[in-house]
């Protein structure tokens, strides 16, 4: 009796000192850890290393430390042969952010009513509608963009429709920023609808009723009750849409006609025809740094919101 009584505390004391690989959760989480390190963190370190390497004459690079990739974003040899401030890459970066921001805003405007509508349906229909929202993911992205080319292009569905309504024939809506934005909003929309739906679905209807009972009109209810309660979903959706939109290559190339570069196509040019890998990697790192800033900013705002009731 005394033996066993002594025995139990001995075990409990020893348990935390057990080697960590005796812990089941270590092995359970190992695949996730390996995946994170080899598929996410290691490649970022490689890109970071390449961005400070020296370019090879025909592409590739050598391991000599060099910050030319970063300085090239701001300063280049001008046509007169002198090093001068070149705004062209900042222009491309700015345009990319503008387009991604516009995509996110438009997605938000459409996704909130759609998600609200779905969440107010009976369960069976709700499931079917959510399934329909995810349906485009079953089709290759390039096909979905081509579909828009058929709709907007010359002799496409929309120009033909307008023609029958009496508009002049032969209109085309392709190869401009509007066409790019249309395809980007379309491809990103499910990524916005799903998280927004998840948070609206959880919204407690009695709180809205309570707001009305307390003489809150629709606007006040939306601003003081619905938006704060659904903010996590809206933020998640905005991040899911904004971040991939920054790297969009396909839509600007196919729908916009490739007439203005985006960061994605700029990086592609540097690794391809430009034969300047370190510069391409430096732009990629800059893009990533800007995304990180955006995420930190969003996280800080969310934290502040939680702190102030």
């Amino acid at each position: 009796m005394t033996d066993s009584a002594l025995h139990i505390p001995a075990e409990t004391v020893r348990a935390p000192r057990a080697r960590f690989w005796h812990d089941l959760s270590f092995w359970g989480l190992l695949p996730a850890r390996l995946l994170m390190s080899f598929a996410l963190i290691l490649p970022i370190f490689i890109i970071a290393a390449v961005s400070v390497a020296t370019r090879g004459a025909y592409g590739g690079f050598t391991w000599d430390f060099n910050l030319a990739g970063y300085s090239q974003i701001l300063f280049n040899e001008g046509w007169t042969g002198e090093l001068e401030f070149t705004p062209q890459y900042l222009l491309i970066i700015g345009r990319t952010f503008l387009l991604a921001g516009a995509t996110t805003l438009i997605c938000l405007l459409f996704a909130v009513p759609v998600a609200y509508f779905i969440s107010r349906q009976p369960p069976g229909r709700k499931a079917a509608l959510v399934y329909l929202v995810t349906l485009p993911f079953w089709v290759s992205m390039i096909l979905r963009v081509y579909a828009w080319m058929i709709i907007l292009g010359k002799d496409g569905t929309l120009p033909k429709l307008l023609e029958t309504l009496g508009f002049p024939a032969g209109m085309s809506f392709m190869f401009n920023d509007g066409a790019t934005l249309t395809a980007m909003v379309y491809t990103a929309m499910p990524l916005m609808v799903l998280p927004v739906f998840a948070s609206i679905e959880k919204l407690d209807g009695t709180l809205i009723e309570a707001s009305h009972d307390l003489y809150g009109d629709r606007w006040v209810t939306l601003r003081r009750v619905i938006l704060p309660l659904t903010a996590p979903g809206l933020t998640a959706g905005a991040i899911l849409v904004f971040v991939p939109s920054l790297g969009a290559v396909l839509e600007p190339a196919l729908m916009g006609g490739g007439k203005q570069m985006m960061m994605g196509s700029l990086i592609q040019l540097q690794f391809g025809g430009g034969r300047n890998w370190p510069f391409g990697a430096a732009i990629a790192m800059t893009l990533m740094a800007l995304v990180m800033l955006f995420l930190i900013f969003t996280a800080l705002r969310a934290a502040r919101r939680e702190a102030t009731p």
């Binding site: 025909y58 590739g60 190869f175 006609g257 203005q260 196509s265 040019l269 391809g272």
Partner: protein
């Protein structure tokens, strides 16, 4: 019915378990190698052939530079072939000792991109220039002037490629600037020309060219000779402009990437594709010119039926640019699309 199903299932099992003796992984321009010939080679040699395609030399070079691509054969153009030799990323497979070498037309042997013909056997050659939809554009086409400084009617009706490579070459031919110029002032002239042309340009894209031109979405497109020929034969009202300044030339060759896993099969395939008979069949399929000795009677695209392939204007092959010259090209392109 059940019996048939069972039989099919059984047959499928055998089909999948019947492994070919060898493997061959080809990385070539999209739809560039005759599928009939590939099937024939596969059957004759009991080799499983996989074909992947690339759409630009830049993509191909980047992939091979990254290493261990797993491909046994690639088909770069001349100026990129030179880079690959200099970088040591393709095998010296003693091409000049093969039967295939004997079958190369003498004038195409030992060119500057592979002086001793050790690393490559040519596959096809051709030109790039601008192609017009003759239903939409009736104006003159005998100079690059009508492409780079177009008539008002072509506003928003011109298309270029999405890569600077041949397009800048054509602009240089027009302006009389040498390829791979390292002279800033000369390249600034190229930029100014392209900038002035930009308001007339609907799209910079290398995809979907055939349908864009045939549908009349654009009236003029920068394109390749053989593709233009194929489109015309398929019934599109297109014509390759024979510009007096000349055309930009290219020649694609078979090479073997360094460390390719199935080099024996790769050499076998190159020999197979280079026999007179197969080279003729390949030429008829690809609709580009062949640098090989072909059986003239069996050639479908003759001077009479395919004037696209027999230009009477000078051809200038794209060169391998120094890093300084390539930077100028990239700078022109980035400023054009900034």
């Amino acid at each position: 019915m059940k019996k048939y199903l069972a039989a099919t299932a059984l047959a499928l099992c055998f089909a999948t378990s019947a492994q070919a003796a060898g493997e061959l992984n080809i990385y070539a321009w999209a739809e560039s190698i005759s599928p009939d010939l590939i099937a024939k080679f596969s059957k004759e040699n009991d080799v499983k052939v996989n074909v992947d395609s690339f759409t630009s030399n830049e993509d191909l070079l980047t992939k091979l530079q990254a290493g261990s691509s797993g491909y046994d054969i690639a088909t770069p153009s001349q100026h990129f072939l030179r880079v690959m030799i200099d970088q040591g990323i393709i095998e010296n497979f003693g091409a000049n000792k093969l039967k295939a070498y004997e079958n190369i037309e003498e004038k195409w042997r030992n060119q500057w991109w592979d002086e001793k013909q050790e690393y490559s056997i040519p596959l096809a050659y051709g030109t790039a220039g601008f192609v017009v939809n003759t239903d939409q554009y009736k104006g003159p086409t005998d100079s690059f002037k009508y492409f780079f400084e177009p008539a008002e009617e072509l506003k928003g009706k011109i298309a270029l490629l999405s890569y600077p490579d041949e397009v800048i070459g054509a602009a240089q031919l027009y302006l009389g600037v040498p390829f791979c110029s390292e002279d800033q002032a000369e390249m600034k002239k190229v930029l100014d020309l392209l900038m002035a042309q930009k308001p007339f340009v609907a799209v910079y894209s290398s995809d979907n060219i055939a349908s864009r031109l045939a549908s009349g979405e654009v009236s003029v497109h920068f394109w390749w000779d053989g593709d233009s020929l194929r489109a015309r034969k398929a019934g599109s009202p297109v014509k390759l402009a024979m510009t007096k300044e000349g055309l930009v030339g290219w020649m694609d060759s078979y090479v073997i990437p360094k460390g390719a896993p199935n080099q024996d099969n790769a050499v076998k395939f190159i020999e197979f594709m280079s026999t007179q008979e197969n080279a003729t069949e390949q030429m008829n399929f690809y609709s580009h010119s062949s640098p090989m000795k072909v059986i003239q009677e069996k050639v479908v695209n003759t001077r009479e039926t395919a004037p696209e392939l027999y230009p009477d204007v000078p051809i200038t092959f794209s060169r391998t640019c120094s890093a300084a010259a390539q930077d100028l090209v990239t700078r022109v392109w980035t400023q054009l699309l900034q």
